[in-house]
């Protein structure tokens, strides 16, 4: 299982498409930095294909005043959870 890390939102970059195409059936996607905007209900539809495997970083949501506004399908993790996700993955790939 590979952890994919995306720091750009679907509203300003198509990097998410490359990530989704590259993802295997068990892979996970973590949204960080401005990428957390993708966890909002208005944008989360772009990640329907990986339902249940989408994560967003709590600290970056909080820094943007978006904590609590995540779509219910997104799993919010803090930076410790980020480390755990890297432990559980065989390797990580960053998309930007």
């Amino acid at each position: 299982m590979i952890l994919h890390i995306l720091n750009r939102p679907p509203s300003s970059s198509l990097a998410y498409r490359d990530a989704l195409v590259a993802m295997g059936s068990e892979d996970r996607l973590l949204l960080i930095e401005d990428g957390v905007l993708g966890a909002m209900t208005a944008q989360v539809r772009h990640f329907q294909a990986i339902d249940g495997r989408l994560f967003a970083l709590r600290e970056d949501l909080n820094a943007r005043g978006l904590l609590g506004q995540c779509d219910a399908s997104v799993q919010v993790v803090d930076v410790d959870g980020f480390v755990t996700l890297t432990e559980e993955a065989d390797k990580t790939v960053s998309w930007f």
């Binding site: 890390i5 720091n7 960080i32 930095e33 401005d34 600290e59 970056d60 930076v79 410790d80 980020f82 480390v83 890297t86 432990e87 993955a89 390797k91 990580t92 790939v93 960053s94 930007f96």
Partner: protein, 130 residues
């Protein structure tokens, strides 16, 4: 586990350095070892020894140095990316006839081969890009 980080974002330009430092602190707190941070592309600006940010802002340069002092994390800088951006240690400054140097220990100028070695040596390599 043994970790390595690859930082490609310039300080105070993107969030990459902040994200990497926060991740570094978290992984060390969980008992992992951070072997090295490799700075590439505009990330090499993190190694500029003369940075002087306002006192009420995070001092990213000092934060990197603390990782080295407290945890033995190597701070490796791609020499090809550094030289063309004016980031030279004393040896390279002398070699190129420059009056001063802009990189010093604990940062070290290394080749891209060191990044390949790092990727092979650690259990996890995580990239933070602009």
């Amino acid at each position: 586990m043994r970790y390595g980080l690859l930082v490609e974002g310039a300080p105070y330009s993107s969030q990459a350095s902040h994200s990497a430092l926060r991740f570094a602190a978290a992984l060390i707190a969980k008992g992992h070892r951070l072997e090295s941070v490799f700075f590439y592309h505009d990330g090499v600006y993190n190694a500029a020894r003369l940075v002087a940010p306002p006192q009420d802002e995070p001092h990213l340069y000092d934060a990197w140095c603390s990782l080295n002092a407290e945890h033995g994390t190597r701070l490796q800088v791609c020499i090809a990316a550094a030289l063309r951006r004016g980031l030279l240690d004393a040896r390279e400054a002398d070699r190129h006839g420059k009056a001063g140097h802009s990189v010093e220990s604990p940062f070290e100028l290394t080749g891209l081969g060191q990044l390949i070695d790092l990727g092979r040596a650690v259990d996890r390599l995580v990239t933070f890009a602009p």
